[in-house]
């Protein structure tokens, strides 16, 4: 069972690489280099700020785009192209297929982020000429970004298991935007009454909480992150990802392939 999941995961990774996804790293590298050079000319202190803000935001956005664009094809493309037939006629359980796909894409994003992180640190080094304790917090921010990727990947996989690529992309992107304001959503919900309040609160808790995982601004200002928050966020991301994958499996188990 595990080896099959591993094989599916590595094949998914291979597909992403051959799809020339990793070329985005070149664009990213260019962006970071340009920013670092340009910003290096401006006054001191703000350069670190800009590099961290820009770098982390770029990592986050690039990754989101990749996650969504590859994620939507994970299942639906295979069904449309019928490459799935010869896979499922083998001793591969449907849920193994879903889980394998997830790990493949998550792995791709992790590798991608790793290279991007190097780019950010190089740019940071260039503008500030030495590492500071800030670098540690930047790592935490990157870790949180990877957690965000896990969540969005699982969500896109979930949507991909039953709807078309375009709709999956729309849903996933909407949840990304709404999730970035999840805390505000809960605030709104607490201001309503009655049934609306129940529904709004329910929706507010169901939506992925990206706002708690977005610490780019505070890290840019060298604010520390509590270890407890790291723990809670990790657990939350894990649990939410599991939830979305379970949903994907349950849908896919019963799906008649065309």
């Amino acid at each position: 069972m595990n080896s099959r999941i591993a094989h599916i995961a590595s094949n998914t990774f291979r597909e992403a690489v051959r799809d020339r996804v990793l070329y985005n790293l070149i664009v990213f590298a260019l962006l970071m280099s340009a920013a670092a050079v340009v910003v290096g000319q401006i006054s001191i202190d703000i350069e670190r700020l800009v590099v961290i803000n820009l770098g982390l935001t770029a990592v986050s956005l690039f990754g989101m785009v990749i996650a969504i664009f590859i994620g939507i094809g994970l299942v639906s493309k295979e069904i449309e192209k019928r490459t799935l037939y010869t896979v499922l006629s083998r001793p591969v359980r449907r849920w193994e297929f879903i889980v394998g796909k997830f790990f493949g894409l998550a792995g791709t994003l992790a590798v991608n982020t790793f290279f991007m992180a190097i780019g950010v640190f190089v740019a940071l080094l260039y503008v500030s000429h030495r590492f500071q304790n800030q670098a540690g917090w930047v790592l935490v921010a990157l870790y949180f970004i990877i957690l965000q990727f896990l969540i969005i990947t699982a969500l896109t996989l979930f949507f991909s298991s039953f709807s078309s690529p375009l709709l999956s992309a729309v849903f996933a992107f909407s949840l990304f935007v709404i999730g970035s304001f999840a805390e505000d959503l809960r605030g709104f919900a607490s201001m309503t009454q009655g049934t609306t309040r129940w529904l709004a609160t329910g929706a507010a808790y169901l939506v992925p909480n990206f706002s708690a995982l977005n610490i780019i601004t505070s890290v840019a200002h060298s604010q520390p992150v509590s270890g407890q928050l790291v723990l809670y966020n990790s657990a939350y991301a894990l649990v939410y990802t599991a939830m979305a994958i379970c949903g994907a499996v349950l849908v896919f188990e019963r799906r008649n392939l065309k």
């Binding site: 490459t83 010869t86 008649n256």
Partner: protein, 315 residues
Amino acid sequence: MAAIEILGLEKTYSIGFWRKRPKHALRPLDLKVEEGEIFGFLGPNGAGKTTTLKLLMGLIFPTAGSARILGMAVDDPRMKAQIGFLPEQPYFYDYLTARELLEYYGQLSGVEAKQRWFRVNEVLQRVGLPDVGGVQLRKFSKGMLQRVGIAQAILHDPKVVFFDEPMSGLDPMGRREVRDLMAQLKVEGKTVFFSTHILSDAEALCDRVGIIHQGELRGVGAVADLTSSVHGKVEVVWQGTTVPASLRALGAECHVTRDTVRAMLSEANQDAAIEALRRERLRLVSVTPVRTSLEDYYLQKLQPANATVGVGAKA
């Protein structure tokens, strides 16, 4: 133990948005295929052949009924390790090379790492693609993809093999090779279940056939039985254009083409006819027993449903 056992397998779709109308893709099907057989599943397009195969592969779920392959349920991974499937007009991951695809499928089918390399090469050789292992599948022609499809179906040495229209996309040379391969599979003791609408292939290869039309099984039987000469006629061919009166007296139906005559008469009059020709000094070309072709049987079974439903469920 039967290799394939289908009991009352049924698939109904409801189509339409508001008032759902049922579409019977497959009406309750009962079928049994023994081990070591080559079974041909014949029918026109849209008859339900692919639906049946997809139900057997667990790609779609039945509305009713069940099926067992090698005595195991359709979703049992142990069973799937022992079957191979070639879908109609197969697609594969086009970013992989042929060898990579077969390696990957081998991994999924549980072929051990040590054996994989050998098996992959062996099977590529067998399907006639020895040199293109390193070429990306997106560059393969339709015929080559079909061969890869067969390769992935037999790679892990399965006991039962399912082919959906295996000859599609192949030129006559390719079709011959596939026919030979399928015959070879039978010699190796495998069971082959394939669907096709090309009757000559079925006639040449199959032990038994089943005929399906509009989702319903219309007839099942051994090819030999179905094509036995039930009519008891012979066809006599001779050179020349004259039809001797004696032959006409025997009740021959004659058909004259440029310089040969073909005559059909009952088997009982065969010797008398030959004698008549000898007397007239006409040159005999051939004497052939006339068999009901599978085509006749097939077309007969395709008639509307009030025709006979089955020659018998077992051979």
